[in-house]
Structures are given as structure tokens and as C-alpha cells.
Symmetry: T
Subunit: 148 residues, 12 copies
């Protein structure tokens, strides 16, 4: 059995209330539920954290060193600004997948660049809640392959 | 009666000790007092929050969804860097006014651009403590007009 | 009693006919009237000038040296291009407030930067006609404080 | 019958004296004559204005609101610098065609970008005096189609 | 009698199906028909080529050396990227007119710059299918003038 | 049953011979086989095309209008340069998913930006051959949701 | 005897009142007087014009075609923005000297670049009123050499 | 005796586990111990704080106003992004030394620029744990000189 | 005996007709002949390909895997735009020499940068047809040294 | 009597042989002679140095501290690159005039910016050898005014 | 015992005469003396060189190959421009420490970037003469650690 | 018989000791010997100069006016920074070939651009010592053709 930390960045606690044409109609709780269902059949245990605090997200990533095999992260707005989050991901040396609900390449120009993507294994974006479900499958695939 | 959240960003707790030629001689408490006086006559109730934590400012904005009719915010240094704060303001969909004590256009070049202004209704800057008083009047005017 | 020059830049003579979702429904005359009402109670005398000619705006600012105590200016399109207007404001050494009807930070990217703002005391933007009314109050406050 | 304002920008009064390899050998008067001949057969009435003053060009565009159905403009040097002219064209909401005698794309790099083109219907450049004749036909075609 | 090559760039074969608010409602065949009608009266023979292959467009331009007197080209997306097309136009030394259906200056910023325009005689853009008709007249005018 | 076009861009025919640390050890044929297996259970029919010719890729996308419900594309090097491919995807108005074998965000800086991503629904990158398998699931999910 | 037009740009009418550490203590009248004295001994007749209107400066340059042998110009703020002034100088084909009171290279960065200098013979800057006197000598030297 | 606040930025709590070729083999505790030993002989009392929260670092700097004579700070990732930290350092007006374990000038280009360095007295970088020891000596030297 | 593929990019089929001051007077056939003569004495067999199609050039490079020991390529206009060609050269892992007839450093600024040069062994430019002859010698030298 | 150091930068020893349309026909010796003649009547003693070595020019400027009252310098190519020369001029705190034979604003773009001009009193450029003669008069004027 | 070359760049020979608020009051001789005192106790032998000639500094670094164990260098103005110095440091492969008297991050923007720092071990800046003393300790520490 | 000056720029005296994977294993003496051997058969006399001093390289180029028919130069680091060297090459008007040992296009980005290449006939780079041998052949070819 594998353990995976799921990190939700700033403002994602508001999901479901906020611009559904961009982010879909699911609440964060519903998304977590969808992920857990997908994970169950793959024998993956998920733990969830959401915070609007950059530092809290970093703390959560650090704490994952002791128990997690991989990370799924949607850094939201911090995607484009947080070198600290990038360094945190690089430091813990766990395979990490970056997820976005919307297609960040078709929004404002400043959202086109991800500071964090360079230290991740890969990215999945644009499929709203289903981006997360795909990430669960991707993480399963990565872990099944073993270290590279 | 209207309710308005007043958000003071990082380092503003030091007001009165710090570069009076830029920010004036008032402490944050005095500024809050000036605002409350102005608000009283206009039948506006103000609640104040100050934090140096980007995440705490975002949390406060989220919590305003349930009770506030508008927001007055001085994001201070986060004005120029915080996409997360911008997304928070955009998410809660409350009319928001950006305030600055100093004229940010006449300082360092990196302060000329505001990340948050685009999602606000308007900006008032350069009148020191009085910028906030004007913002109270502006918010009153906005709310009197009703939704647009 | 204080005297204040109010300078309206290019295309503002068309107000009321033009993009009301950006600029509101008031004509320039109505805006001037709103300002005069606000000024009356504050014992401020306003004189108005509007021109589409950059040179005429500069001439008006120069002529204000002899009688005005402050300037309220909406440089409109010249905000983003006119070094000459900037030098005029700097030359007469009168406290000047920059006003915009729309929130220039939420329009085209080239409108985000103001050439003139650096030599002004402060800026008020985004409240449509009410931006000017707030500017009258701001000018009153500045003059009440005396020279700094 | 349709009415069209033809606006000639700065330095075009010198046409015929000036760099014929770029602008051709015709004087401005001869160009106006060529346009009028083309317009006559199409039942279009043209009125011409030339000025070196940005403000005068804006005034002329404003005055066209009351009588013109379309505008043909060669903003000359103001093509590359005048946001005020751009706003004037946008304000009057008349279909406008931008014309250039020379091919501005094959001259100095700073002439490659047009500030005004974005608010026009289309552009015709590089055919010297004949650029204007084509513009008369284009305007006829636009007006024949009716509003879109 | 003059011979003119008309070159239609990538995706133009889809005209009529695709974004009519930008490109109008005509199919490519209809546009070719409109051009032929205009050309007939001016004693110009047109030959048409359309391809989505940059290389095929270059080949067509090369083959025109032996029979054509001028070229009318809408390089479509290659306008903004193809140095090879630019070199092809420059190599054959035939007077060339660049045509665009839409006003490229009012679309995405990367469409504002034309790589090919510098080696053309002139540009006509923004009049949808009628841009091509105007180009036929322009080519007639150019050829009537003889070499310059 | 749904039909999906799978488009492989330039140099992907060499897969398996080329930099396995970036692209994995699978040949293109093996990847196509993996995709077909995944698609079979989901009742999706895949058709594959690979070309090093930008024009041939555009032609293939155009031809998909008549039979395909969606597109999965790895534009490879054309990701970063081809406006023509972008226009092709936009023209056919089929939901399109961009796929990359490697994490393009962690390679040369010029690979960080995708010209084509803006007109796609979403992106999946960095999971080598498995990126394509995830894309099959994503396309299934999109089509199951119906038009949005 | 030679005739020279001296053109003073925007805000120079305020000289003597304005930032003496940058521009010196002389009024514009005094500067004109200093120039006339220098010119007298060299048998040069000077005519002066000052305007804050870009168009008026262009008009003055155009009118010089008929009588002037050379131009001395301080374009002031228009130095950095006016393509129209640049075109006017280029059009009249009179040898032109650009003058600045202050050393524009040691002020704000945007003043470092001159739009007009490229079409002038040379530049003299930084010697306050004496810059103009040197320009009279330079013009004398240029005219004594005859056409080149 | 002097009091000095030592501030360790985000991810530095992981030192010793993380990229030793960049940061050396010491844990943060060992570094603090090395600093304390150096400080003891110089009669300097050190207090240490580490946080991954930008706001917590700002709070710590504010609290130092009452008791510290100087600050030694390694802002880590916030070096390159935090205007808020920069403003905090500027506000408390204590002499501050910026320290880096690695030579930030020889890493990714975005690490070459420090937002915080401009408001510090000086910088020491590249000597791993020993950078901190040198900073203790530097702070001793600064304080021995008295205010400048 | 060694085998070398010689790749001529777009528009080079026109050599001899086109701008001889830049490219010399030789036709492509004559250049191939000069190369063959040089190669003969060095026991090198050359095969030539020319195409205006980016894809065809890539195909040719791929096919060289099976028989060639090295590549000499003049990518012409694709030098500055083709990431796909660059990836093709990198993929086949054959030593490749980039050749230019003209000195690309002394032409338009956009020709100064080569997208393909980074994945080549070296570059020879500016000697017109003789650039190719030097490349034959260079390839001989490279192959004589054996793998490095 | 005043003493002035005249510094000629790299390649100026070739004057008279080199591009007369840019630099005129005078040799360096002739220019020095012209300056000496002008200086004699003004009671100024000139000493000349020319070197192609940046370091030698700096040395000469340093040595001027003990005897010179001002410097006239034509830094030639070092104008655009030498921060060391700039620092040397700033260090010796002697009033310095920058001279150029040609109008550097009308040449290659990289010559438009002067690294050294910011630390000089003023600039004279474009009058060929006569630029130096004007500089002698300018230096006389500066010294006659006494320190400012 | 270790041998260390100390390299002082251009204009540093003037230390003590020049802007003491930036560089402190010590002459270069005094600084060398301070370093020697610090070095003596650490059993390090220092040799000093100062030159305003970039080439002379490179020569000195080359000559250090035969006898030095490390280099301490203040490249002064060459810090920001000299690729040649950078290559010299990289060539000799001796551990090198870059020193600056002033905090180069708080001066003109062009001084913020160091061309040479990337090939050094570390940097110490902002402590005036004491920067050099710290560098002696740092070099001692580096050499004590042995090769890494 | 022809005479050719061979100029070796900074740090090339260290060849053989320094990064052989970039520059090969030959010393400068060996390279000169290889060139002389190649030259002998072609009846070319070579003279060699190497210096780390930019000024000394310029002096050597100047002195070549009297005796050399062509120049072969490897400006090394000065390739990217020296406008003075560029002007020296342009001044002496001798055909000049730029040579590089390594492929400068595949190293640091700042080495991609050559300041000197624009004034040379051509460039040869990437073949280590053999780059120079090819340059001898190229120079022979250039001189055999006579002036162009």
C-alpha cells in the first residue's frame, strides 16, 4: 500500500462557490471524495491538506517526508509566485504531480508560467475535478514503476 | 446599515514608527479611529484586521463572505507580489477598494504595478491616513448605488 | 478660501455618450456641477478647463501659477504618454491630484502605467464621476494641512 | 448618399516636397482630388482636414459624430504614439479605415506598431496616393453592407 | 494582360465554417470567384493556390517566377512565424501584396507583427473577403505604373 | 462509441531510439498499442497519424472534422512555434488534449511556453508513454460529460 | 548673412522659476538675448518661437522652409516622445542642432533616449543657457562649411 | 554586550538532509551552535528563529525592535520574492546582514537577484555553514564601530 | 570511406538567381559539384537533398541514421525558427556542421541567433560557396579523429 | 590660467584614414592643433593623451587630479561599455565634458546609450573636429563660473 | 603555509580620496595592512596587485597558477562587464572569493549583477575595508577544508 | 605571397591547461605551428600575436595596416563585449575572419552573440584547433578571389 499527500493551495477551500465556468461545480470535499474512491481500488491511502498559508503548505510537505511515497499538489496562485514552495518540493525528494482545475495556459498571461512545475514529475491541467482523479492514476503508475 | 471589512497588510502594525515622510505620523489605531468616526455618520460598521501573514489576510477575506458588504484593503507589500490575495478578492465577489498611504507611483519602480488593483473597483493612494477616510466615503457611495 | 484648477484631458468632452460601463452616465457638465456642490461647502472655488490639445492643457496649468492653490487633473489618454504634461505639473509646484473615472488598472495593459502620477500627490480612480468628488475632499484636506 | 471625413495627420501638408521614394510625388491637394473623383461615382461626399496638432485631429473626429458615416484617417507619426487619437476614434464609434502612403512595416522598427489600428476596421498601406483611393472603395463597401 | 498568383495560407481552406465574426461568411471558393470577377474587367488572369504546408507555399511562389507579374498573398498563421516564406517572396522579386481577412492589429498581441510584410509592397487587412478584391485593384494599379 | 484522432508531431517516429531518460523506452507503435488497449474498454476508437510535416498535421486535423469527436495531440517541437497548428485546432472546434512525454517545464526555457495549449481543453505532461494513456481516460471523461 | 530658427519646446516659457539646479537661473528672454549677442558678431539673424503645443512647433518648422538656413531646437519633453516633431525636422531638410539645458543623460532613465536626435546634425547638452550659445557657434560653423 | 537576532528562512529546517553539494552537511542546529561559539568570545548574545511562514519571519523581525542591536538573516527562497520581508527589514532600522549558504550567483538565473539585499548592510554567500560564522564577526565589527 | 548527408534548406534551389552580393553567383548544382570534387580526394561520399519543406528536411535527416557518418546542413531560414529541425539533428546523434553562405551576423538582427547551432559540432559562415568546401574538410577532420 | 586634460579613446589615432563621412578629414594631430589655437586665446593650457587601452585612459584621468581643472574626453567605443572609465571620471571629481565627432544618436542602436555621460557635465556631438573646439569654449565657460 | 593572491581592480588605487560614505576612509595600503595582520595569525602569505588595466589583472591571475592556493579579488567596475576576467578566474581553477567594499545591491541597478561571481566560491560585500578581512578568514576556512 | 595577422585574445595563452573538453588539447604554440604548416603550402606568411589586453590587440590590428593582407582573429571573451575591437577591425578595412575553438552557440547564452562578427567576412567555430586551419584555407580563398 502507498501513501500520498494531497496538497490544496490558497482559495481552493472556496471551490463550488467560485467561477464554476473555470473550476467546475464541485466543492473541495467532493473532489477529495472522488480522489479517495479512485485511490481505494488502487490500494493508495490519501491524506488531504488545504491552506491559504504558503508556510503551512511547506510545513505539510516537510512532514510528508516520514510517511508519504508521493505528493499531488495544486499550488493554485502560489504556482506562479512561490520559490519557497518549489524549494520545499525539491527538498523532500518525493515524486510530485502538479494539478490544475482550469487550463492555466488559456487564462491571464501571468498564469502561463509555473514556478513549481520544474521540480515536479509532470502536470495535469484543465479537466476540472477530474484532473485530480487522473493524478491519482498517474501517481499509481509512477509508484508501480519503482524508482528511476 | 452596511458592514465593511478593513484589511491592513504587512508591516502596517508599525505605522507611526516608520518613515513618517512616506506614511504620515498616525498609528494604525489612530487610523482605525479616524475611519470609524467617518463611518459612524454614514451608518457603516467597520471591522478591522491586520496581519503580516498573507494566508491570514486571505482567511479574513474569505470569512467576510458571510457578513460584509464591501472591503477596504491596503495590501502593502503584497500589492506587488500576491496573486493569492488577488484570487481571494476575486473569489468573494465583494466590491473592494484598494488604499495606499503613500503615492506608490512615485516610489521604487517595482511598486508602480499592483497585482491586486485589477480585481478592485478603484484605488485611492497618496493621502496618508486620509486615503482611508476617503475610502470610507467611496464605499458608502458604492453601496448607495446598489449593484451594477 | 482656496482656488483649485480642474483639468479635463482629451475626449472627456464626450462623456455621457461614451462607454457608460467604463465611465458612467454623467456628462462633463454634470460632473463639474457635482464637484462645485461639494466644493461650495468646503469654501473652495473651482475653475474648469477641458481640451483635447496637450499644449492647451499645459498652458492652463502654467496660468494656474498666479491664482490656484491646487490642481485636480484627469489627463485621460495623456496619462500614459505625455512627458510634457508631467513636466508642466512638476514646474508649477502646486499640489496636484490625479483622477480617473475608470479603474485604469483593470483595462488594457498600456493603461496600467501613469507618466504623470509620479509628480502628483496622490491618485483616485475607479469611482466614475464620484472620483472627482472624492478629489475635492482630498484637496480640501491637503490644503487644510498647510505645506509639508 | 454617405458622408466621410478624411483626416490627414502631421507633416502630410508637405507631401510632394518630401521623400518621394517613400511617399510618391503627389501633393495633398492632388490626393484629395483623386479621392473625390473616386467618391463621386460611388455617391460619397468627402470632407478633408489636415493638421499637425493632435488636438485638432481629435476635435475634427468629435465633430464628425453629427454628420459623418465613416472616417478615413492617415494618422502619420501619431499612428505610433497617440493614445488620445485612439480613444477619439473609439469614442465616436464610426467605422474607421487607417491608411498609410508607405509600407510602414518596411521602415524603422518603431513604425511597425500602430496604436490606432486596433480600434479601426482595417488598414491599407504601401500604395502611396492609391492607398487613399482604395480606402474610398473600402468605405463604400463597408457602408453598403450596413451595420454588423 | 497580366498574370497574378494568389496564395492562400494555412487553414484558409476551412473558410466559411470558421469564426464568421472574424473572417466573414464566404468560402474560399467564393472569394476566388469574387477576385476573378474583379480581375476580368482589368484584364488580369489569376491562378490560385492554397496549402497548409509552408513548403508548398514556397514552391508555388518559386514557380511563379516564370509566368507571374505579381503576387497576392494571405500568409495566415505563417504571417507571424515564417522567415522562409519571407525569403521566398524576397527571392522571386515580384511585387507582392499582403492581404488579411481580419484586422490583425485588433487580435492577439502576437498577431500584430508580420514577418512577411517587410518584403511586400503593401498590406490590406480587415475587410474580410473584400480585402482580396481591393488587392486585385491594387495590383492592377501597381502593374499599370510599370517598374519603379 | 466515440472516435478520437491521435496526432503525433515531428521526430516522434524515432521514439525508443532517442534520449530514453527524457522520453522513456517505448516506440511509437508500443505507445499506440497501449492507448488502444485503454480505449477498447472505454468504447473509444482511435486513429493515429504521425508526421514531421507541419502541414500534414494540419491536414489531418482538418480531416477529423467529419468523423472525430475529440483530438489527442503531442505537437512535439511545433508546440513552441506553430501558430498554424494552433489555428487548425481552434478552427475544427473539437475538444483537444495536449500531451507531452517529458515534463516540458523542466527542460530548456524556450520549451516552457506552449503556443497550442491555449486552444486546448487541458494538458498532461511528464509521464512518458503513460501521459497518452491518461489522455485517453481524460477524453473519455470529457465526452461522457457532453458539451459544456 | 544666415537666418536661423530657434525653437523652444514645452514648459521652457517658465525658465527661471523652475528647478534652477537643473536649468540655471536665466529666463527664456535672457537666453534669447545671449544668443542674439553671440549671433550678431557672426552675422546670423535669429527668429525665436516657443510653444507648449507640439503642433505649433511643427508648424513653425514647416514655415522655416522658406527663409531659414538652419534650426536650433530644444524639444524639451517632446525630445523623448514626439515622432511627429522628428518627421517635421526630417521633412524640411534644414541642418538642425538639438540643445538641452540640463545633461539629459544624468536624469530619469526615460530621458536618456532622444527620438529627435537621429535626424539632427548634432547635440549639445548640459551647459544650461550656455548650451544655446555654443549652438549658435556650431550653426555658424556648419553654414560656413557649405553643403556636405 | 550586544543582542543579535538570527533569522532562518523557509526550508532551512531541513538542512543536512538536503542537497549537501549546495548547502553542506550541517544541520541547522549545528550551524546555530557554531554561531553561538563564535559569538560567545565576542560577547554577543544570539537568539534564533526559523520559520517557513513569511509572516512569522516578519513578526520576528518586528519583535526584535525592543531588544536586538542587529539582525543576521538568511531569507532563503524569500530572498527573491518577498517585498514584505524587505519592508520589514527597512522598517525596524536595525543593521542587517544577509547570509546564504550557497553562492546564489552560480545557480538558477532567478536566484541572482535579491529583493532584500538592497535594505541590508552587506551580504556573505557561498561558504556554507561558515557564511554564518563570518556574519557573526561582521556584525561584531559593525556594532563596534557604532552608528554611522 | 565515409558517407555524408548534405542538406540544403528553403529557397536555396534559387541560388544563382538571387542576391549575388549576399550569396555569390554559384547555382546549387555548382556548389554540389565543388563539394564533390573536394570530397573525392578525401574519400568521402556525399548525398544531397534540398527542400523548401521543413518536414522533408527532417525526414531526410532521419533516413540518414542508417547510412551516414555525418551531416552538413544549411538550414537557411529555418536556422532561426525551427525547433523541429533542431530536435531532428539532436535525435540522430550524427556529428553535424552548420553552414551559411552569407555572414548571418551582419544581416538583420533576427538572423543573428541560430536555433539549430546549439546541437551542431560547429559553424562555418560568410564564405559563400566556399563555406561548403570548408565544411567538407571539417567533416573529414572530425571523422578522422574518431568519436570523442 | 587653467589646465585641461584632453583624452582621446580607442581607434582615434587612426583619424583621417577612417570613414570621413562619419568622422571628417582631420587627423588627430590636426584636431589637437585646432583645440590649442582655441585654447590659447582663452588662457587654457591643454595636455593630450590618446590610448587604445582602457586602463591607460583611466591612469591618465587619475594623474590629472594633481594638475588639471577640467577634462575633455571622447571615450569612443568605451562610451558604450566602460563602467571603469565612468568610475574613474566620477572619482577624480573634475568637471568633464564628453565629446563625439559623429552624431552617435544616428548610428547603430547600441551607440545610442552612453555609460560615461551620466557622470559628465555635458555632451557635444556631431560636429566632427569642431565638436572639440566647442568643448574648449564650454570648459572655459564652466571654469569662469567657478564651482557650483 | 598557504599563499593567496589579492587582486584590486580599477580605481581602487584612489581609495581614501573617493566617496567615503560608499567605500570608507581607508587607503588601499591600509587595507592591505589590515589583511596582512589578519593573515599572519592564520599562517597565510598574501601578495597584492592593483591595476586599472583589465589585461594586467588577467595576467596577474594567470601568473598565480604557479604559486597561489587561492585568490581574493575585488574586480570593482569590471565586476559588471568583464567576461575576460571571468574566463581567467575559471581557467586557473583556484578557489576565488569576490569582495566588495560597498553593498553593490543597493547602488545603481547595473551594479546588481556580477559577471564574475558565478565562477567564484562566494561573495562578501558591504563591510567596507572589513569585507577584505572577512575574506582572509573565509579563504583560511576554505583551504583548511581541503579540496571538495 | 600574402601576409596574414593572427590575433589570439585573452586567456588563450593558457590553452592546453584549460577545459580540454571545450578547447581541445593543443597549446597555443602547437596551434600556431599547425597554421604555419597549412600556410606554407599556400604561400602565406603568418605573424602571431596574443594578449590579454584589449588595447594591445587593438594596437596590433592597427599596426597590420602597413603590411597585412588579411586578419584571422579569435577575440575570445572580447567577442561578446568589445566595441573597441569591433571598431578597430572596421577601421583597418582588411578582410577579417573570426575563429572560435568551441561552438560558442552551445555554451552560456551570453556567448551566443558576437559584437565583432558583424564587421568580419565570416566565422568558423567549434572545430577546436582545426578551426584555425580552416581559417587559413578560407583566407587563402578570399585573397585568391581579389577585392570584391
Amino acid at each position: 500500500m502507498a501513501n500520498v499527500l494531497v496538497v490544496h493551495g490558497p482559495n481552493l477551500n472556496l471551490l463550488g462557490m467560485r467561477e464554476p465556468q473555470l473550476y467546475g461545480n464541485h466543492t473541495l470535499e467532493q473532489i477529495n471524495e472522488m480522489m479517495s474512491q479512485e485511490a481505494e481500488g488502487l490500494n493508495i491511502e490519501l491524506r488531504f491538506v488545504q491552506s491559504n498559508h504558503e508556510g503551512a503548505l511547506i510545513d505539510a510537505i516537510h512532514e510528508a517526508i516520514d510517511w508519504a511515497d508521493a505528493i499531488i499538489i495544486n499550488p493554485a496562485a502560489y504556482t506562479h509566485t512561490s520559490v519557497a514552495l518549489r524549494d520545499a518540493i525539491a527538498s523532500v525528494r518525493l515524486p510530485t504531480i502538479e494539478v490544475h482545475l482550469s487550463n492555466i495556459a488559456s487564462r491571464e498571461e501571468f498564469r502561463e508560467r509555473s514556478v513549481t512545475a520544474r521540480v515536479c514529475v509532470g502536470q495535469i491541467s484543465g479537466f476540472q475535478a477530474y484532473s485530480y482523479v487522473l493524478a491519482v492514476r498517474a501517481v499509481y503508475h509512477l509508484l508501480a514503476q519503482g524508482p528511476q
